[in-house]
Amino acid sequence: MWIYEKKLQYPVRVSKCDVRMARYLMEQYGGADGELAAALRYMNQRYAIPDKVIGVLTDISTEEFSHLEMIATMIYKLTKDASVQELEAAGLGPNYAQRDHALFYQNSAGVPFTATYIQAKGDPLADLYEDIAAEEKARATYQWLIDMTDDVDLQDGLKFLREREIVHALRFKESVQILIDERGKKKVF
């Protein structure tokens, strides 16, 4: 089971009232390479992979949920006090028409999240290489998001999240190495 902890992993600050960024941040909320996709992907791969890498998948997946909460916090802070006109100017008019200020699992273009963003091949190496690629894609997305804002506090939180992708990718690479090195263990029936 999971236990919720009532605190963010990182102290998120947003200092500029820039509703436009809320829309772009949704790429990491409900986008193909976003935090939700990452968390669900790794969690779901645990059921068809050698025991030695289940810990990594469980823990990185759990950390991704805390990143999802950080992204939600950024979007919440940027939109909470925004007027309809401000939301419309930021391209969030269609979102307001559907759900007022509610968040939704969608990408920056408003495309709803879909399970087809996530693969599960049942082959340990194929799955882990997908995970490494997912981390690098998320790292790139964070770079483009950092490029789109001049709010140093928002940049700060995004830089933290970008760095986490780099560490996660390394842990997945190490997991691949662990599986490659599993030799000399004869099957016993």
Binding site: Y10, D147, D150, R162, E163, I166
Partner: protein, 70 residues
């Protein structure tokens, strides 16, 4: 630390409609040079580790906004 940035010049065609960008860059983060983290790597102080997103300087990758910051 060696730079993590790489630079290339995109091809310039004679009929390109827009003024050419002089160069493009991409990042090669340190995880590309480590296949398995060795033990006992030096660590950041714990407050620094939180701020930078990793406990180990060897895994840290700086990135600055193309817009700068205010």
């Amino acid at each position: 630390m060696e730079s993590q940035e790489r630079v290339y010049t995109p091809y310039r065609g004679p009929f390109d409609p827009c003024p050419p960008v002089p160069f493009k860059t991409y990042v090669v983060p340190p995880n590309q040079f480590i296949s398995f983290q060795p033990p006992d790597l030096p660590q950041f102080s714990l407050p620094e580790a939180l701020r930078l997103g990793t406990l180990w300087p060897a895994l840290f990758s700086p990135y600055e906004s193309k817009q700068g910051g205010r």
